[in-house]
C-alpha cells in the first residue's frame, strides 16, 4: 500500500493547552505509517465564536486554510471536532454556492490564493477508520486494553449536524447511536461502555458566558460514564477533553456530586494499544491523573 499522507490542521488547542494531543497524534501517525504535513500557515478556525462575530471573515479564513491543503493536493485532517465542524461547514457552503465561493475567492486573490474545493476535510478518527480500517488496526495492536472499561465521549461537532458530518467519511454515523469511537475501543481490545451522555454536549462553548450550564453538562457526562462503570473516558476532541479533564471541580459543584475520571485523547488510547512509548503520549499533562499506566 502506498504511504498514507495527509495535510494536518492542528488547530490551536493541540499547540497550547493540550500538548499531549499533539504529541500522541504524531506518535500514532508514525506507528500507523502515516505522513502528516502540518499546515503551519493555517489560522484558527474561529471555533464557532468568530462565526458569531463575523461570518464572512470566518469563511474567508477557513477557505484559506483549506486552500493550503489543496496546494499540497492532500486530504485535510483535523484533530479537533470544532475545527472539523467549521472547516467542513465552510467547504459545504462554498461548494454549494457559486456566488459565495466567488466572493470568498475575490478576497483570497488579494493574497494570491484560491479555494477550489478539491481537498476532502475529515477528522483524524474517521481518516484512520476509512483509510486504514479497524481490522488492520486490530492486527497492529500489541498491548490490548482488555482490562479496561472505556467510556467513549463523541463530542457534538463530530456527529451533528449529521447531514454535514456524514459528507466527511465513508460510513454514515448515526447521531443517536454513533459507533466509530466504540469500534475503535473494541479494536484496541477494550470494553466499550454504553451510557446516555456519550453523544451529548460537554458544554465547552458556553463555559465563559454560562458557566453553570456548562459545568452541569460536564458533570452529567462524567457521572454517566462513572455510573456505567467506566475506568476512563476517551474523546476525539481536545475541547471536550479540556472540559472533562480540567473542570472536574466546577462540574462536581454544579451537580452536587464528586465526579472525576481520567480522560484520554483518542490518539493516546490508540498509542497505548499500538505500543507507543509512553513518554510520547504526554499523560503527564493531564489534570485528572492518569493513574493506570
Amino acid at each position: 500500500m502506498e504511504k498514507l499522507k495527509y495535510a494536518l490542521f492542528t488547530g490551536c488547542t493541540a499547540k497550547q493547552s493540550t500538548p499531549e494531543q499533539m504529541m500522541s497524534t504524531m506518535a500514532v501517525a508514525e506507528k500507523l505509517g502515516i505522513e502528516l504535513i502540518e499546515l503551519t500557515e493555517a489560522s484558527c478556525c474561529g471555533a464557532s465564536h468568530l462565526q458569531d462575530y463575523d461570518d464572512f471573515l470566518s469563511l474567508v479564513l477557513n477557505a484559506r486554510n483549506i486552500a493550503y491543503a489543496e496546494k499540497h493536493d492532500l486530504t485535510m485532517v483535523t484533530i479537533c471536532n470544532t475545527c472539523q465542524l467549521n472547516t467542513a461547514m465552510t467547504k459545504h457552503r462554498l461548494d454549494n454556492n457559486a456566488d459565495l465561493k466567488a466572493k470568498v475567492n475575490e478576497k483570497l486573490a488579494e493574497v494570491g490564493l484560491e479555494y477550489k474545493g478539491t481537498s476532502k476535510v475529515t477528522h483524524f478518527l474517521y481518516a484512520i477508520i476509512d483509510d486504514i480500517g479497524l481490522d488492520k488496526i486490530k492486527e497492529m495492536v500489541v498491548t490490548p486494553l482488555s482490562q479496561f472499561n472505556i467510556a467513549p465521549f463523541y463530542g457534538c461537532h463530530n456527529i451533528r449536524p449529521s447531514e454535514l458530518q456524514n459528507e466527511s467519511h465513508d460510513k454514515a454515523e448515526n447521531p443517536y447511536n454513533p459507533t466509530s469511537l466504540d469500534d475503535l475501543i473494541i479494536a484496541c481490545g477494550g470494553k466499550n461502555v454504553d451510557y446516555d451522555e456519550k453523544n451529548k454536549c460537554c458544554g465547552f462553548h458556553a463555559e465563559l458566558q454560562a458557566p453553570k450550564t456548562a459545568a452541569t453538562l460536564t458533570g452529567n457526562a462524567i457521572a454517566g460514564a462513572m455510573d456505567g462503570n467506566a475506568d476512563w473516558m476517551v474523546t476525539p476532541c481536545p475541547l471536550c477533553h479540556l472540559k472533562l479533564d480540567t473542570q472536574t471541580h466546577h462540574a462536581s459543584e454544579a451537580i452536587g456530586r464528586e465526579v472525576a475520571l481520567p480522560v484520554l485523547h483518542m490518539q493516546q488510547m490508540l498509542g497505548l494499544a499500538l505500543g507507543c512509548d509512553q513518554s510520547t503520549l504526554g499523560m503527564k499533562h493531564h489534570l485528572t491523573k492518569v493513574d493506570f499506566v
Partner: protein
C-alpha cells in the same frame, strides 16, 4: 400505446417493485394520568410494523387496538399543525411525519415512546407546553409596524426579501427542538431554539420595525449566548428550520446593528478576531483574559494547575501562523462586523 395505458403499465411496474416489509418492534410506552397516578409507568406492546407506517400510526394502533384511554395530540397528520411531537428513544420526533423505517434504522427494534418532556406530562403523550409558549411570546413573534388602516396596496415581500427569512418561517411550533435542547433542560430561563428561530424570522423581515427584540434575545442568562452549540435542535427539526444557524445569525445581527454591549460573551466572540489578527492562531490565555477582564480571578486556581502541567503557553511562547501578513490583510479587507 395511448398515454393512459402507458401510465397504468408504469404504475403496475412500480407497484410490483415497491415491497412493503414488516418487522416486529417492541414498544415501551410512557403512561401517566396526572389526575389519578402518583407516578408514571411504562406499558409494553409488541407489534408488527410495516415499512409504510409513520410513528403516529403506532400511537393510533395503541389507542384503537389496545387501550382506548391512551392519549396524545394530533390534528392535521400532515406535518402542519405541530401538535404531535413526542420522543422516541429520547429523540424528539414529529409523529405524523417520521417514518418507522427511519426509527428502526436509528434505534433497532426496541423503542421507548415518551412525551416531549416527561416532567411536564399531563396525560400520557400530552404535556403542558406553557413554558414553550411563554418563551415564544418573549421573542415578539410578529411584525411590529405602524398600521395604515386604509391601505391601498398589500405590503408584500419581494422574493429576495422572503429568501432572507432563510426558512425560519417554516417553523410549526411543534416544540421538538425546545425539548431536545440540553440547556432548556437545565436552565429554566433559557428561551430555547424555537423562540430564537422566531426572533430571527421577524428580525429578518424588512417590514418589521421592532426596537427591542434583538436586545431581548441577547440577555445573558436567558438569551442566545447561553446556547452551547450542540446542534441537537438542527438535528431534530422536522421542518429543517435549523435553529442553531438562526442563533448564529442573531449574533451577527447584534454586531451589525451596533447594539452589542461589551460583556463577557461579546468580548469572547470579538476576542477571536483580535487574536487572529495578532497571531493567526488563538492566544487561549489572552482570549480568556480579554473576555473576562476582572472576572479572570475565578479561573486562576485551574489556570495555575494547568500551568504546572505545561498546559498554558505564555503570549511570547505562541507560535504564530506562517504568512501572517496574508491573514492580517484578509482580516482587514473581509471584516463586515463592528464592535
Amino acid at each position: 400505446m395511448n398515454l393512459k395505458l402507458e401510465l397504468t403499465k408504469r404504475k403496475k411496474e412500480l407497484m410490483s417493485t415497491h415491497k412493503i416489509t414488516t418487522q416486529k418492534v417492541n414498544f415501551k410506552v410512557f403512561r401517566f394520568n396526572a389526575d389519578e397516578d402518583y407516578l408514571p409507568y411504562y406499558e409494553d406492546y409488541s407489534m408488527d410494523v410495516t415499512s409504510e407506517e409513520v410513528v403516529l400510526d403506532i400511537l393510533n394502533r395503541i389507542k384503537w387496538d389496545h387501550d382506548g384511554s391512551f392519549s396524545y395530540r394530533r390534528s392535521c397528520r400532515h406535518g402542519i399543525c405541530g401538535a404531535c411531537a413526542i420522543k422516541v428513544n429520547g429523540r424528539s420526533t414529529l409523529a405524523c411525519k417520521e417514518s418507522m423505517t427511519t426509527m428502526i434504522e436509528y434505534f433497532g427494534n426496541e423503542m421507548t415512546i415518551e412525551p416531549l418532556s416527561t416532567k411536564r406530562a399531563i396525560k400520557d403523550m400530552i404535556i403542558d407546553k406553557g413554558d414553550f409558549w411563554k418563551k415564544h411570546e418573549a421573542a415578539t413573534p410578529y411584525v411590529v409596524d405602524e398600521i395604515d388602516e386604509t391601505p391601498e396596496l398589500e405590503n408584500l415581500l419581494s422574493p429576495a426579501e422572503a429568501d432572507a427569512l432563510n426558512d425560519a418561517d417554516l417553523c410549526i411550533q411543534c416544540g421538538a427542538c425546545h425539548y431536545a435542547c440540553p440547556v432548556v433542560e437545565i436552565n429554566e430561563d433559557f428561551m430555547g431554539p424555537a423562540a430564537f428561530a422566531a426572533a430571527y424570522r421577524f428580525e429578518a423581515d424588512v417590514r418589521d420595525g421592532d426596537e427591542s427584540r434583538l436586545t431581548d434575545v441577547n440577555q445573558m442568562g436567558s438569551g442566545v449566548w447561553d446556547c452551547v452549540k450542540c446542534f441537537e435542535c438542527a438535528e431534530v427539526c422536522p421542518k429543517d428550520v435549523n435553529p442553531i444557524e438562526k442563533i448564529g445569525q442573531l449574533h451577527n445581527m447584534l454586531f451589525q446593528s451596533g447594539k452589542a454591549e461589551s460583556n463577557v460573551a461579546t468580548r469572547h466572540a470579538v476576542g477571536f478576531e483580535k487574536s487572529i489578527k495578532k497571531n493567526g492562531v488563538l492566544d487561549e490565555g489572552g482570549l480568556v483574559l480579554y473576555s473576562e477582564m476582572a472576572g479572570i480571578v475565578k479561573h486562576v486556581p485551574v489556570a495555575l494547575k494547568m500551568f504546572s502541567k505545561g498546559k498554558i503557553v505564555p503570549p511570547w511562547g505562541i507560535t504564530k501562523s506562517q504568512n501572517l501578513d496574508e491573514i492580517q490583510k484578509l482580516v482587514k479587507s473581509s471584516t463586515t462586523a463592528k464592535f
